[in-house]
């Protein structure tokens, strides 16, 4: 009995003492799955330069990032759907948006026997998501893709089951090109999907599409590339069918970067320009303007500066487009707003 008591006391004190031994600062963040690949690369690389910093980022979806940031259970958030005015008002303090990279949302599909790159336009995509087009050999799809033998397979729509900025970008685009979609579904990180199966995170949707014959979904470009899932080209506002790539995404951002609003909340879907990819977007990191934890704030500001400069070189290999230089300059200024 005595021995057990001694053992328990030692074990318990060790448990309590252990945190005091480690010297690292841990910073918790949560949010979008869209930029998760580049963020996890960034945190890992930054950690090599600053080993005393551990950034624990959990990709639970943009909705989750906004929620946890508002509840202050994490230090920073990440979202591809900018916070709307109502959400900003609901936060305990002013929140600042900082674009980090540019990404693309691509329509991924899995049609057994079809290897070709399919062409989509906004209206057709909207109708598929609305459940109005139910088979792959529907007249509208065939018209867009002459020369491709589309089977009579049922279309299985895969969407996000969690609150997602990727969703936001996708429905933002669809609402711009289809008034019916805008009315029936609307724009938000979490919407009332008319049909389909829900997957958790970009990872979940990619997984669903990969495993389900006849499926169509929407994911960030890198998830399609890394998992070798077929994705199609989309017709842009100027009528060209564009495949998502670094150049086409950067093209989409050019007009926006010239007239960037002060709070960086801007949508670049369906952007004008011959080579612009229509479903492109910035993705933002969210920080409080007036953080209570000055030490962590300092680290995150330093990290953000690194990410906006040195970090951008990792974008290309992961399928993200680096930020335009004008935007980076504006952000460096804006970072000073954070009260350290």
């Amino acid at each position: 009995m005595k021995l057990a008591r001694i053992f328990l006391t030692v074990a318990f004190s060790t448990l309590i003492a252990l945190p005091a031994i480690s010297q690292t600062t841990q910073i918790n963040g949560a949010g979008a799955t869209f930029p998760y690949p580049i963020y996890s690369k960034w945190f890992s690389e930054y950690g090599k330069i600053h080993p005393e910093v551990e950034v624990n980022y959990q990709s639970i979806g943009s909705g989750g990032g906004i929620r946890q940031l508002t509840a202050q259970t994490v230090f920073f958030g990440a979202s591809d759907g900018p916070m709307n005015d109502e959400q900003l008002k609901g936060a305990p303090g002013p929140i600042l948006h900082f674009p980090t990279v540019l990404g693309a949302v691509v329509p991924v599909y899995n049609i057994p026997g079809v290897d070709a790159k399919l062409k989509f336009n906004g209206k057709v995509l909207a109708d598929v998501i609305l459940g109005k087009i139910t088979k792959w050999n529907d007249a509208a799809l065939v018209a867009l893709n002459p020369g491709v033998k589309l089977p009579a397979t049922d279309i299985a729509v895969a969407h996000r089951s969690d609150g997602s900025g990727t969703t936001y970008i996708f429905v933002d685009y669809l609402s711009k090109v289809s008034p019916e979609f805008k009315e029936k579904v609307g724009v938000n990180t979490s919407v009332n999907w008319p049909v389909g199966v829900g997957g958790k995170g970009n990872e979940g949707v990619a997984g669903l599409v990969k495993q389900t014959p006849g499926a169509i979904g929407y994911v960030e470009l890198i998830y399609a590339l890394q998992n070798k899932i077929a994705f199609g080209s989309v017709q842009n506002a100027d009528g060209e069918f564009i495949t998502a790539s670094l150049d086409s995404v950067t093209a989409a951002a050019t007009s926006a970067s010239k007239s960037m609003p002060a709070d960086f909340r801007v949508s670049i879907t369906n952007a004008p320009g011959k080579s612009a990819y229509p479903i492109s977007s910035f993705t933002w990191m969210l920080f409080y303007e007036n953080p209570t934890d000055k030490q962590r704030a300092k680290i995150m500001v330093d990290f953000t500066k690194w990410a906006l400069t040195d970090g951008q070189k990792y974008c290309a290999e992961l399928g993200y487009a680096p930020l335009p230089k004008e935007v980076v300059a504006l952000e460096m200024e804006a970072l000073k707003k954070i009260k350290l």
């Binding site: 318990f12 945190p19 945190f43």
Partner: protein
């Protein structure tokens, strides 16, 4: 004559069906174990047990943080659930014949049946919201709440098995009831009580839902009570719903570790239980 033969045939048929249902139930068991072992074993390597997760898309890395996290969480859970459960069990066996005892017994059984996700919501409101961050403590609390009813009931039942003469002997020698209970009865029932604790620990080691929004998750190895912490079930879940084959591999390996852990405890519990039964039969 015909009727008897029909009745006998029916009886034989039913026996066959019952045996068949045993076989039917064992099919998924072997299916699952087979998959977990075959897919998980190949991914078990030294890295898996010692390294942290790698950035998204890179292969390699391990679940060291998740395993340490699970160990830490069940330590926290057991830390408060064991004393509460054992002492409550002592109360029930000493004074539990009245209506209050029945109430406690009833609520313990009810608590046992509450879905773990609901307990997670409770722990979230109790330990995450007020301090505004996810923590190992909140996760440990949620798991501990689930352990309490199991330990309470098994402690009570096992104390009841100890012959009353032991208690009476202690009391006759002048011990207080407290002394009699804690220095005589509990040690006598200790193997069984330990088994109950082991069973409870094995049960919560595999729980995922209550940790999703209490302990949250952590890419790094932490042992801080007040930081989010990784855990084996949550890590398996995160990897399983991802599209990366390498992460799927690791998920199976993690499942193997988890199943191995639970299996070992179940076997242990069975062995101890059988020994106890033999003891008390004589």
């Amino acid at each position: 004559m015909n009727r008897t033969r029909r009745r006998k045939a029916l009886s034989g048929f039913v026996v066959f069906l019952c045996a068949g249902s045993v076989v039917l139930a064992l099919i998924p068991l072997f299916f699952i174990f087979g998959y977990v072992i075959s897919k998980g074993f190949s991914s078990l390597n030294w890295d898996f047990f010692t390294k942290m997760p790698k950035p998204v898309g890179e292969t390699g890395g391990g679940m060291a943080n998740a395993m340490v996290g699970t160990a830490y969480l069940i330590a926290i859970a057991g830390g408060f659930a064991v004393p509460v459960g054992v002492i409550a069990g002592v109360y029930l066996s000493e004074y539990g014949k009245k209506s209050f005892g029945s109430l406690v017994r009833f609520t313990a059984d009810v608590l046992n049946g509450v879905p773990s996700i609901v307990i997670g919501i409770f722990a979230y409101g109790l330990a995450v919201l007020p301090v505004k961050h996810f923590s190992a403590l909140a996760g440990g609390l949620a798991l501990g709440f689930m352990m309490v009813p199991i330990i309470t009931r098994t402690t009570e039942e096992l104390l009841n098995l100890v012959p009353g003469s032991l208690r009476e002997g202690a009391l006759a020698l002048g011990a207080t009831r407290a002394r009699a209970a804690f220095s005589v009865m509990v040690p006598a029932a200790l193997p069984g009580i330990m088994t109950g604790i082991l069973v409870a620990l094995a049960r919560i080691a595999g729980e995922t839902a209550p940790l999703l929004f209490t302990a949250f998750n952590n890419r790094y190895l932490t042992t801080s009570l007040l930081q989010p912490i990784s855990s084996l079930p949550v890590q398996i879940y995160t990897y399983a719903i991802s599209p990366y084959d390498d992460w799927h591999r690791q998920a199976w390996a993690g499942a193997l570790v988890l199943v191995g852990f639970v299996f070992t405890f179940s076997v242990l519990a069975r062995v101890v239980t059988r020994r106890l039964e033999r003891m008390h039969r004589t």
